[in-house]
Amino acid sequence: MSNAYNTEWAVEARGLVKTFGDNRAVDGVDLNVRAGSIYGVLGPNGAGKTTTIRMLATLLRPDAGQARIFGHDVVKESHIVRQLIGVTGQYASVDESLSATENLIIFSRLLGLGRSEARKKAEELLEEFGLTEAAKRPLKHFSGGMRRRLDLAASLIAQPPLIFLDEPTTGLDPRTRSQMWDTIRRLVVTGSTVLLTTQYLDEADQLADRIAVIDRGHVVAEGTVDELKASVGTSALHLRVHDAKDIAGAKEIVEQVLQVRSSVTAEAAKITAPMADADQVTDLLIALRTRGIQLAEISVQKPTLDEVFLTITGHGAAANETKAQGQQERMEEVRA
């Protein structure tokens, strides 16, 4: 093992600042990412996630503060840092006018692989990412998911110990998304460190060991997924009974099983209650069946990003983002 990786920290950033005009896009961000972990940076559009990653990946020069990648300064030792990182941007950083194979061969050659080595590497990666069939086609005809996979493949040519993924699954369909998650998990198994940004709490939850919540250029919360969840609150139960007469009985059962206070919204005949553990819904359903109460609808939802923001920052994700996120909030729902 070369001494480059002996550092405990893959990323150490102190007080990073980047200003565009009079907009302080990143305003004093601190980040510590332990080597060998997946670190999630969570926040809405325009929070400063991409700018932060671009500074750490030597694509942007910080206006203030400093950052080290495996102990190497991103400004003074940028060329060394570039040998330690792979970057997969929010917008596919591959060459649209070339084929997948040509892209990978060119990147491999740039990274110092020989002609036949580069060809072999390209074939290998295309196979790993299930792109062999499309290898010769120009990227113009690639789907979003294929482009992302190729992009990630290109980041892995040199097998960098640290990989930046900027919103790796934004705009992907659920199936492609879970494939991407599997790939990311596998990267860490093989020893890489991953720093990813995301707009989805769910994604950070699925992948990250630690999360930083970033808002308006500041880190507003940092910790393990569980710590963060605890600070945000529990999941929420929403329940509607078939017959309005049963509502009092149902409320009683909910409070009995969950050991919490619930509330009833009159017009929808809907009971809502916080839940410590989504598994409790099983006990609840059995209890309701025993009492013969018929349900119209029941759902258990995770706190949405908007709720996380509301709790942590005291304001929701920026108003213009609310709509976009509304479509993206994916809930774990159980319908009866």
Binding site: G86, S93, L98, I106, R109, L110, G112
Partner: protein
């Protein structure tokens, strides 16, 4: 997916600079990329194929009678002139395409790779020498079809062609610089034309210098384009390498020495 090749490579020497050899290799790889792109979109070669044919025909038949009495006598004057004008003009495309290219996501990857900073720029200007070669060959072929017989012989014509290609390559660094600093591809085209038009037309490319007013002759005589045109004429028409040849080479070297570092610096600052 196999996990074998996702394994982390653990023994790699880390350096904070790129060697000359690596810079050269990186630039050649980027030039290879440029060639692949030309092969994928051959329609971007329209200008270098049609322009030499069209301009050579047009200028020769329009000006031939007026300037040299007939077309045959005009050919030794106009072919070197039109050659320089067309090929140098082609180098504007370098800047325009560089601007378009830099706006694409792939440049983010180039910037994040441990490669020589100059490679994406050097690669782009290198790949474009293919365009200059096409324009040069076509202009000479057009001239030959129209009856041009270079007295200097094929060897001298070849040297003249290489000289023009080398000088256009040098000039393309100016437009590469505009390409890096400009906001849009259209503005690169605009600025470049403003620079290029006076340079190519205020020269001895099309008409004898003696017919111009004295104050204009002063500019025409120091214009490097005039020297390049004269050098090509000396070579193609007399088979001679003279003073004009040396001035052209030196001017080209000066342009590269100024604009290559300037372009790279601007490119790095924009990142």
């Amino acid at each position: 997916m196999k996990s074998t090749s996702l394994g982390r490579e653990t023994s790699r020497p880390l350096k904070n600079h790129t060697s000359f050899g690596q810079t050269l290799r990186n630039s050649l790889t980027m030039a290879y990329r440029g060639l692949l792109k030309i092969r994928r979109t051959p329609e971007q070669l329209f200008d270098v194929t049609l322009q030499p044919i069209l301009f050579t025909l047009m200028f020769t038949y329009i000006f031939g009678g007026a300037i040299s009495g007939n077309v045959e006598n005009y050919l030794p004057i106009i072919i070197p002139g039109i050659l320089v004008q067309t090929v140098i003009g082609t180098s504007v495309v370098t800047g325009v395409q560089l601007r378009e290219d830099m706006d694409k996501g792939v440049f983010d990857r180039f910037k994040s790779l441990p490669i020589a900073r100059i490679a994406p720029l050097a690669g782009a200007v290198l790949a474009d020498t293919v365009r200059y070669t096409i324009a040069t060959v076509l202009t000479f072929v057009m001239g030959y079809i129209m009856g041009y017989q270079p007295v200097g012989g094929l060897g001298s014509v070849a040297i003249a062609a290489i000289l023009v290609i080398a000088c256009s390559w040098a000039v393309s660094w100016i437009f590469a610089f505009f390409g890096v600093i400009a906001r849009t591809a259209a503005s690169v085209q605009g600025i470049s034309m403003i620079v290029l038009f006076p340079l190519t037309f205020l020269s001895n490319a099309f008409v004898p210098v003696e017919t111009m007013p004295t104050w204009l002759q002063w500019f025409v005589n120091i214009n490097p384009i005039s020297h390049l045109v004269s050098a090509v004429r000396e070579l193609a028409n007399n088979g001679a390498i003279g003073f004009e040849f040396i001035i052209s080479i030196v001017s080209a070297a000066v342009i590269v020495a100024i604009f290559a570092p300037l372009t790279v610096r601007a490119y790095m600052r924009r990142t």
